[in-house]
Every structure is written in structure tokens, then in C-alpha cells.
Symmetry: C2
Subunit: 447 residues, 2 copies
């Protein structure tokens, strides 16, 4: 009998790799934060002597979901302004609010609120782009969750940095801070082609080769962005990025809602990763990314919620459903983007985009024990003919009961273990009052 | 002090009528199943002496949601076959399964499962189309929920009736059975233009004048339906229905995913009600109903989930979000279908389509006390700048805590009071085993 930390028995185990596999009455053996084995429960009981044994006989176990595009701290702006076009929403509401409110304390409160929602809906890793990536990294590490914190670069001065030099200097410093962190990974995060000029992009491209981290960037989100690019540079943004040398397996191109046939081919040829954000793209009427055609061309397509200010939730189960539904409509084919493929986008494809697929994205021996349990014994999910269908199509985020990251149980029977849910709600209420009234009295500030 | 049955105090009351109204710290006074008053909590406490007083200080109260298109019993087929085009899904999976399994016991079990899900996600009334509408009516009445049970008519013989004569004979009998029922209403439900020929449609049209009930019908769901109609009748289905005299305020036309400019105008001119089912239309790749254009033309557009076999849930909150998101994408305008309009579609517009807007669809004195409470004090909904945004965009169905129908509390702090949730899950599991194994042993049949 091999001594291990934990043995989780479940009704179904859906490892994602190998593809389309559903194991029944299996167990996952965990030791030192890693998955050491996945095997039938009956055999597991003879083979392993676990420190803890967990029986989830109504549940499906899946890999922790990877939210491949977030602005986590913006959860404090959730619902601040809705039903507006992207540029109006940014110019008249989001950017002024950011200028007024964003600082270290805002980031801590916003990231905690986002993590509370994400953990409870089965996300274990998120690819973030926002100011104060150092604060985000520390806040996530403290909660035991996993993040790729984006080293933001943008042309205009913000509270985080004054100019391109300072953004890049700080990017390198933040990368260094988390170099050996088991939970906090980094990526360059130049905001978008229309907000970052050639100089900083070239410097980032040089640094990517040295640091071997991804480049996380909004690309081809709207027609407006493409028209601006044509006007300013005489070429479409993707062409410009190609000429600057940015297209490649390091690039995590978010949105890609407006791409033509040649650009699908270019994306595939160059090995660019795409992050599809269906709900944000629909809500801002940006367009529908041709996901099935990208997948057919061999492109790695991951899934993201975008920030809570344009979604307005961070529930990756809902995002999987929206991706599958929109994918079918866009392809005019009900067999496009089937449930199992949406689940791949939300797990292994996300891990691959972030260069983390040796560590997370599937339930396989040797990978980190980033695991999510979903209780399917509910009137909203029953009957279960095919558990993957129910996970994608029946609002399963509300039925996540348990979540492990690196073998640590961050959600136990729906209760957060590493975050104080009540304190988060209290902090959020304080921020809501501040943002609504436009005042920031010192006496209500607690972090 | 006026003696009343119940006084519900809430953080927010969103009555839907008048439009865009959000009342804070208000109370709803209920007596004899009706709303008698809506007023500030502080005044209510001086004015009314309630038998029961309920404080919901983290909650929004909204009118009970009206699911304007369901096949409730099909919840037993949830996830049986997914990711397939409509006709393949119907011909190869759904219709054979119905032929094999549908009977009175199936209906009872399926409708109970559907009600459990609907009540828990804030639906108080559903417009159903299925076999055994009498059994559906009785099952719903027993649970204290509200239904418009569809008097199904279809050309081919089924377990419910052999031919048009028998379908219509049974329709009249079921209508008579529920003539004075406070919770069970009826509508004719000729399945679709491609499954009901001219003779029965003409008889239905004559009877509608006598009985004064709606006609609930799938119309222009797919291009295939329109092509079939052109081939068989030499005209588009909507034109054929117009010539048969069916277009008018009695008609509840479901889907309308494929309509041209002239048909939008015709629909508006004739006062036809449209039921939009965005998730089903996307999942079956049927198309996107031009909702904003219909609304702009003055058409009453309601909202439905369709059956759980093609959705795969009956959560109207999710459907509101999908409607808003798809509406923006289809209109290429982020300000199209704002949150408040999605909420109207799911409440007052549904009530109007069913001819029940004097009774339900808004929180107004004199109307039935069909009320839903949503707890917004959750990391997934906070902060709350505009409660209607959070109701529509943040998966609020999972946060419904209390539901009243006709003044009776069918959900109390998330627990069903008129349905046995455990028994429903057990019955559902039995049906799942039967349908999976293809056997129906008498000894496991319990109803």
C-alpha cells in the first residue's frame, strides 16, 4: 500500500486528455500537490493508503478550468455601465472610473472578489491583464489560486507607470519577483494594437525570447480597431503585429472576433493561440469569432470571460455554453463546437495557450492536482445520459462543490477555505458605496 | 391597520410595470393570493397587520418569470442527444424516444422534474406544448404552479390521439376540464406548419373564436421548414397561416428565427405575438430571430427556453442573458436589447402573449401574487450598481431563494414546499435507467 495525501472517489472522472473519455467510479490519487494516479475506485482502495479520503458519489471531476482572459480587479466595476458599444463604454465609463479609483487597495479587493466567484464556479487558473500585476500576483498566491499575471504595457500614463520605459522596467521586475513561484506565472500584456506603438512592441518581442513567457494581447476585437489601424498604420493590426515579429506560439491573441480567411490561415501557420470571449463579444456587439474554422485550421483556441465589467460574470461554465451555442450559430451547423470541444477550450487549450500544459489543463498523472467537482444530482442537471453535455449545457457552475489547486482544497462543500467570503462582501459593499458616491473617506478604508 | 395575509419587505422591488422602475426598501402586501399594495417598508409597517412578515433585505423581488415556450415533460430527455441539426435530432433521436417512452407516467415524472427546476430558477408560469395536456394540467395544479397547457394537434397518430378529429375532440375536453381552474389555462397547440395540414388549422381557427384562447405554434424555426413549405404549398409558412386566417393577437408564434422584412411588418400589422428561444435556436443552429427589429416594429416578443432536450435547461435567467447577448450581436449594436427589455420579455410580454396580462407579468396591485426573490448578496452578483443588470447578466437563476404563486410560497429559502425534491430525483433516475437500457420493468414503475 502506497501512502499518499488524498484519494478522491467520484461517480465520473472526465480527464479531458485522452479526448472524450468518461471514467465511471474512478478515483484520483494525490500526493505532494500532484496527481499520482487515476484508477477504478475499487482498485485504488487496495493500492493506496490516503491521509484523507473523499467520496463524491454524485459528482463529476474535471480539470480546473483555465480562464484565459480576465481583468480580475474590474469585478468591482461589474454592472457599472451596460448595454453600450465598446468605445463609448471605455471612454465614457470604464477609463474614467479606472483613473479615479484604481490603486493597490482596489486591486486587492477586486482580485479577491473575482477569486471568490471564480473558485466557486470551478476556475483554478486565470490569465489576467491589469494594472499592479505584482499586487494581483501576491493576492492570488495568498489565496492559493493559480494566475498568469499580465505585465501590462500601454502607451498612455496611468497610476501604474508613466511611459513605455517604466511599464517595461516594472514588467521585468514583476517577472523577477515571481520567477520561482509555484502558483504565480507571468506574461507580457501589451494592451492592444491601438494602444501600444511599435517601439514598446519591439522591445517586448525581444524580451519574450529571453524570458520565455507568453504575450497576452487584445487583437481584432472590433471593426473600429481594424479601421483605426488602417488609418494610422496603413495595414490591419494583425498584419502589423506579423511585421513586428509578434505572431507565433508565444502570442495569446484575445478576441479575434473580426478576422478574414487569410488571417485564419496566417494565425494557423504562425501557431498563434486565440482566446475566444463569446459573452463579452456578444455583449459589446463586437462580432463572432469563427471558432470552428480556427479549430479546423489547427489553431489552439482557449476560452475567457473577459472582465466582469463586460460579461458580467466570471463563470467559465456559462462561457463554455455560450461558446458552444454561438459556435453553432456562427458556423450554421448544430454539430459545430460540441460539448467536449468547449470543455477542451476551457481546460487543456487554455493551459497550452499559456505554456502551462505540462502542469495543468487535464487530469493526468504527473500534473498538478488542480481539480473541480460538480454535483450533478440536481433537478437542473438530471437525468445524466452524457455528463459532458450536462457540464456544458445545464449551468453547472452553480453546482461546483469542491475545488483543489496544487492539491489544496480551496472550496470544501461550497465553502471557501482560503478566502473570507463575508469580508470580501463587506469590502465590496464599501467600494460600491465609494464608487457610487464618488468619495473615498479614509475611515472606511480597510484592506 | 388593515389585516392581510403576508407582507414581504425587500431591498429592491422591480415591478416591471411601470417600465425601468427600481423601488428600494419597499414591501409587497399580499391578501387572498393577490397583490394589494406596494409601498415603502416604513409606511407598510404602520398601515398593514400581516399574518406573516418576511424580510428579504439582500434581495430583489421581481414578477414570477413566464416561460413562454416549453415541452416540460421532455426534461426526461435532457442531454439524450446533443450537437445535432434539428431534423436529425428529431428524426433519429427525439421522435423515436417519444414513441417508445411517452405515456401518462412519463408526463407526470417529466413535468415534476421540470417544475422543480423552473420554480428553483424563478419561473412561476409556463406555456407548454406536449402530449397528455390534461395530465400536465393536473400535475401542475397539484404543485400549485401556473401553466398554459397546450392542446396539441399534429397530423400523425401518437399515443395521445389517432387523427385530427381525435386531437381536436380531446383538445375541447381538456379545455373544458380546466375552464374554471385558477392555475391551469389552455391554448391550442398545433405543432408547426410542416406537421399540421390546412383542415385541422381551419377548425382550430374557428374554435379559437369560440373559446377565446391563444394558438401556440412553432413558426419559421428553420430554413428547412420554409423550403418544405414552399415545396408543398407553394408559399412560405407564414403566408399560408395568414391565408388560413391564423395571424392575429391570438397567435403565439414560437421561434420566428427565419423571417424577412415583409414578414416583420406582417407580424406587427397582425398583432402576432412572437416567442424568442435564443438558446434552442443557437444550439440547433436554426438562426437568430431579429428581436430588436420586431420590438421596434411594435411586436410583443416574449421569451422561452424550449424543451430541456434542446437547451438543456429551463432557467429563464440564463435565457434572458442569452436573449440580450444574441440580440446585441444580431443587431450589431451593443445598446440593443438592454437588460430591462430582456426582463420585460420574460415577464409582462410573456403574460401578454398568453392573454394573461391582467393577472400576471408585473408586480401591481390587483394582480396575482406570483413573485420571485433573488438574493444578490453573493460574490457573483456584487457590487450592485443597477440590480436589473445583475439579474440579467450575472447568472441570477442560481440565487433565487423564494417563489410565490397566487400568494402561496412554493420555494422557501431554496427549498421546494409543494414538490418532493428527493422523490423527483429518484423517479428521474429510474426513467434514466429505463431509457438507457431500453427496458421498462413493471416492478420499478411508481408514480
Amino acid at each position: 500500500m502506497q501512502v499518499i495525501d488524498e484519494l478522491i472517489h467520484a461517480r465520473w472522472v472526465i480527464p479531458v486528455v485522452p479526448r472524450k473519455t468518461v471514467l465511471e467510479h474512478h478515483a484520483i490519487a494525490i500526493h505532494d500537490g500532484r496527481i499520482v494516479d487515476i484508477l477504478p475506485s475499487s482498485i485504488a482502495q487496495q493500492q493506496y493508503q490516503p491521509g484523507r479520503s473523499t467520496l463524491l458519489d454524485r459528482h463529476a471531476l474535471i480539470p480546473g478550468l483555465v480562464n484565459a482572459h480576465t481583468h480580475a480587479a474590474m469585478s468591482l466595476f461589474r454592472g457599472l455601465a451596460d448595454d453600450l458599444p465598446l468605445m463609448q463604454w471605455l471612454n465614457a465609463h470604464i477609463w474614467p472610473a479606472e483613473q479615479r479609483w484604481v490603486g493597490e487597495e482596489f486591486i486587492i479587493a477586486g482580485v479577491r472578489l473575482a477569486m471568490a466567484e471564480m473558485i466557486r464556479t470551478g476556475t483554478t487558473c486565470f490569465n489576467d491583464m491589469y494594472f499592479f500585476p505584482d499586487v494581483t500576483g501576491r493576492t492570488v498566491a495568498q489565496a492559493g489560486m493559480r494566475v498568469v499575471t499580465g505585465l501590462i504595457v500601454i502607451d498612455f500614463p496611468t497610476v501604474w507607470a508613466a511611459d513605455a520605459d517604466e511599464y517595461i522596467e516594472k514588467a521585468i521586475a514583476v517577472h523577477d519577483e515571481f520567477r520561482d513561484d509555484p502558483l504565480v506565472h507571468t506574461a507580457f500584456a501589451p494592451h492592444a494594437p491601438y494602444t501600444v506603438s511599435d517601439g514598446p512592441l519591439q522591445r517586448i518581442q525581444t524580451l519574450v525570447g529571453e524570458l520565455d513567457i507568453p504575450v497576452h494581447m487584445h487583437v481584432h476585437e472590433t471593426n473600429d480597431e481594424i479601421e483605426q489601424g488602417m488609418k494610422r498604420y496603413g495595414k490591419r493590426p494583425l498584419t502589423r503585429l506579423h511585421e513586428l515579429g509578434l505572431l507565433g506560439p508565444s502570442l495569446v491573441a484575445v478576441h479575434m472576433a473580426r478576422i478574414d480567411d487569410d488571417e485564419i490561415e496566417l494565425t494557423a501557420q504562425q501557431g498563434v493561440n486565440v482566446v475566444h470571449c463569446p459573452e463579452s463579444n456578444m455583449k459589446l456587439a463586437s462580432g463572432a469569432c469563427p471558432v470552428q474554422r480556427l479549430l479546423d485550421a489547427g489553431v489552439n483556441v482557449a476560452l475567457g470571460t473577459d472582465g466582469a465589467a463586460s460579461n458580467n460574470d466570471l463563470d467559465m461554465f456559462g462561457e463554455m455554453r455560450s461558446a458552444a451555442l454561438l459556435g453553432k450559430l456562427a458556423a450554421q451547423d448544430a454539430s459545430a463546437l460540441p460539448a467536449w470541444q468547449a470543455l477542451e477550450m476551457a481546460t487543456i487549450n487554455g493551459a497550452r495557450a499559456l505554456g502551462l500544459d505540462a502542469l495543468i489543463g487535464s487530469l493526468e498523472p504527473g500534473k498538478a492536482a488542480d481539480i473541480v467537482a460538480v454535483d450533478l444530482n440536481d433537478a437542473g442537471h438530471q437525468p445524466v445520459y452524457q455528463p459532458v453535455s450536462q457540464l456544458v449545457y445545464t449551468n453547472a457552475g452553480a453546482s461546483v462543490t469542491d475545488v483543489w489547486v496544487n492539491g489544496h482544497r480551496l472550496l470544501r462543500e461550497r465553502v471557501l477555505t482560503s478566502l473570507d467570503g463575508d469580508a470580501i462582501l463587506e469590502q465590496t459593499a464599501q467600494w460600491c458605496r465609494r464608487i457610487t458616491t464618488g468619495t473615498m473617506p479614509d475611515d472606511t478604508m480597510q484592506t
